[in-house]
C-alpha cells in the first residue's frame, strides 16, 4: 500500500536529477557560470531559485512540528519572512550592483574588497562555512525523515538520506547554480500545491473546516493560540527578538548572497522582493495542519513527525506520497544550494584567497566542484552521529550567520566603519551566542533569543571599536562606492 507513496517520491527524485543535469550539461564550465549562473537569471528563474532555497524541510516538518508542540510562537516564521523581503527590497539591489561591478562571486568577496582585508574574507568564509553545516544537516535529516515516514517505514531514514544526497550531488556537480535553479522550478510548484492542499484537506476531513478546527482547539488548548505558547516560555520578548533577528539575519546567509548575484538586473531583484511574500503565505496552511494533528494525534514523541504520521495514518497513500515528494523537494532544493555555497566559500575564499593566492578562478571553480561530494558526505556523516530537533538546528545556524549583519549593512551604508570594528564586533557576537548557548545552559537573559544578544553585543562592539580606530583610507572607499 505504501509502495505507491514511495514510487511517487522516488520518481520525483529521478525527475529532479534529470532536469538539474540537463540544465547545465551543455554549458561551458566557468566560475561565473557554476557559482552564479552568469548573472543572467530572469524574474521567474530567480523567483523559484530563491523561494525553493528559502523554503526548506523546515517549512514542512519544522513548522507543523512547532505548531503541534508550542503553538503560536511559530507565527514568527511567516512573519519574519515577509520582513526579510522588505529588507531585501532595499539592500538586494546594492548587494547585486557592487557584486556585478567588482566581480564578486561569494559573500566574503564583498568583505575583502569593502574592508580591504583578505584575512577578514577568510574569517567570514570560515564562519559562513561552519554555520552552514547545521542548516545543511537539518535538510538532510528532513529528507530522511520525510521519506521514512511517508513510505510507512519501508525505507529507513539512513538509506533515504544516502539516496537523496546522491541525487543532489549529481546535479550540483554537473550544473552548479543553474542546475539548482531548474530543479527548483519543479520543487517550488510542487511545494505550493502540497502546502495549500494539505492545509485545506486535513482540517476538512477531521473537523469539517478550518474554522471548526480552531473552535475546538480554543476549547481544548487555548495556550496554543497565543503567546507565550504551550510551553509558556516564548513570550512577547522572545517573539519580537526572534522575528527581528531572523528578518535582519536572513540575507546574510552566504547561499542567499550567491543567489542575489545570479539576478540579471536590479529590477529583477526588486520585483522578486515584492512577490516573494506571496510564497510565504503558503506557510500558514502548514501551521494549520500542525494544529489539526495536535487535536487528532496528541502525545507524539517527535512533533516534527506529526504531519506525516497523520497523513499516512488517515489518508490514501498517494497523498502521503505527494506530501512526501513535496517535503523532499523542499529539503533537497535547499540542501543543494547550501552545499554549493559551502563549497564555493571553501574553494574561493579559504583556498584561493587564503591558502594559495596563485590559483586562478578556473582552478578554484574546479576545486569547488570536487568538494560537492566531500561536503555532502561530511554533512551526512554528522547527521548520522548527532541528530537534533529541526528548529533548534535552524536557530543555531541563523544566530551565527546574523553576526555578519553589521559588516554587510554598515559596509553598504556607512563609510566610516572600520575593518577593526567589523572584526571585533563579529567575534564578540559569536562569543556571546556560544556562551549563552553552551556556557550558561540556563535560559537566555530576559527571555530574548540568544542570537539576538549576540547581535546586540556585536553592534555595540563594532560601533565602539570603529570610533576608536582611524577612518579607512579614502581611495579604496571611493573605488568601492564608485559602482553606485
Amino acid at each position: 500500500m505504501t509502495s505507491i507513496s514511495l514510487w511517487i517520491i522516488l520518481g520525483w527524485l529521478i525527475l529532479s536529477t534529470v532536469v538539474g543535469v540537463m540544465a547545465g550539461v551543455k554549458r561551458k564550465f566557468s566560475m561565473e557560470e557554476w557559482f552564479v549562473g552568469q548573472r543572467g537569471f530572469g524574474l521567474i528563474l530567480f523567483y523559484v531559485v530563491a523561494a525553493a532555497e528559502i523554503y526548506s524541510a523546515f517549512a514542512f516538518l519544522g513548522l507543523a512540528g512547532w505548531a503541534y508542540k508550542f503553538g503560536a510562537p511559530i507565527f514568527y516564521a511567516p512573519m519574519y519572512n515577509v520582513l526579510a523581503y522588505t529588507l531585501f527590497f532595499f539592500i538586494g539591489p546594492l548587494i547585486w550592483r557592487y557584486g556585478k561591478a567588482h566581480g564578486y562571486v561569494t559573500q566574503p568577496d564583498f568583505f575583502i574588497h569593502r574592508y580591504q582585508s583578505p584575512s577578514l574574507g577568510v574569517v567570514v568564509a570560515i564562519i559562513g562555512f561552519l554555520f552552514t553545516i547545521p542548516y545543511l544537516q537539518l535538510q538532510i535529516m528532513g529528507t530522511g525523515m520525510i521519506i521514512q515516514l511517508s513510505s510507512g517505514g519501508a525505507i529507513n531514514w539512513q538509506a533515504a538520506v544516502i539516496v537523496s544526497s546522491l541525487a543532489s550531488i549529481i546535479f550540483v556537480t554537473v550544473s552548479g547554480l543553474r542546475g539548482i535553479a531548474w530543479t527548483n522550478l519543479l520543487q517550488a510548484i510542487l511545494m505550493l500545491v502540497t502546502m495549500f492542499a494539505v492545509g485545506i484537506l486535513v482540517p476538512q476531513k477531521f473537523f469539517g473546516g478550518v474554522g471548526q478546527m480552531f473552535q475546538r482547539l480554543a476549547e481544548v488548548s487555548p495556550q496554543h493560540l497565543i503567546l507565550p505558547g504551550k510551553s509558556g516560555t516564548m513570550g512577547l520578548g522572545w517573539y519580537t527578538s526572534t522575528t527581528l533577528m531572523s528578518a535582519l539575519g536572513f540575507w546574510m546567509w552566504p547561499h542567499l548572497f550567491l543567489t542575489t548575484y545570479s539576478a540579471k538586473n536590479t529590477q529583477i531583484i526588486r520585483r522578486n522582493a515584492v512577490i516573494l511574500p506571496l510564497f510565504a503565505l503558503a506557510l500558514i496552511p502548514v501551521i494549520i495542519v500542525g494544529y489539526t494533528c495536535f487535536l487528532v494525534a496528541p502525545g507524539l514523541k517527535e512533533p516534527d513527525h506529526a504531519m506525516l504520521i497523520t497523513l499516512t495514518r488517515f489518508f490514501p497513500p498517494w497523498m502521503a506520497g505527494l506530501v512526501g515528494a513535496g517535503g523532499t523537494a523542499a529539503a533537497i532544493s535547499t540542501s543543494s544550494a547550501l552545499t554549493l555555497s559551502a563549497c564555493t566559500l571553501f574553494a574561493r575564499n579559504i583556498y584561493q584567497r587564503g591558502m594559495n593566492p596563485k590559483a586562478n578562478d578556473d582552478q578554484a571553480a574546479r576545486l569547488a566542484r570536487w568538494l560537492v561530494p566531500v561536503v555532502t558526505a561530511a554533512a551526512v556523516a554528522l547527521t548520522f552521529l548527532r541528530p537534533k530537533m529541526l528548529v533548534a538546528l535552524l536557530l543555531l545556524g541563523y544566530s551565527g550567520i546574523t553576526q555578519f549583519f553589521p559588516g554587510v549593512i554598515f559596509g553598504l551604508f556607512w563609510k566610516r566603519v572600520t575593518k577593526a570594528g567589523v572584526y571585533a564586533g563579529m567575534i564578540a557576537g559569536i562569543a556571546t551566542l556560544l556562551l549563552i548557548n553552551y556556557g550558561l545552559k540556563a535560559s537566555s537573559p530576559y527571555g530574548l533569543f540568544f542570537g539576538f544578544w549576540g547581535l546586540l553585543v556585536n553592534l555595540a562592539v563594532c560601533l565602539l571599536v570603529t570610533l576608536c580606530t582611524s577612518p579607512p583610507p579614502k581611495e579604496a572607499l571611493d573605488r568601492f562606492y564608485a559602482a553606485k
Partner: protein
C-alpha cells in the same frame, strides 16, 4: 535622497512595526475569530498581506517614478 525613496523607507518601517512589540501585545489574543482564524493568527495573515501591498507601493514609487535605474 529623493522623496519617493523616503516614502518607501517609511512604508518599510511600518511593515516592521506591525510585527513586533508593542503591536504584538495588543493583537496577542484568541477572540474575536475572523474568517475562522483565532485573532493572533488572523493578524499575522493580514499583516503579511499589508506588507505585500506596501512593497507593491514601494516598487511603484522607486521603479516607475524614480526614473532611470539600471
Amino acid at each position: 535622497m529623493n522623496p519617493n525613496m523616503r516614502i518607501a523607507i517609511l512604508l518599510a518601517i511600518i511593515n516592521f512595526l506591525g510585527a513586533i512589540w508593542p503591536v504584538t501585545f495588543w493583537v496577542n489574543r484568541i477572540r474575536p475569530f475572523v474568517f475562522g482564524l483565532p485573532f493572533f493568527l488572523f493578524w499575522t495573515f493580514i499583516w503579511m498581506l499589508v506588507c505585500f501591498l506596501n512593497l507593491v507601493f514601494c516598487y511603484l514609487l522607486i521603479e516607475r517614478k524614480g526614473g532611470e535605474r539600471p
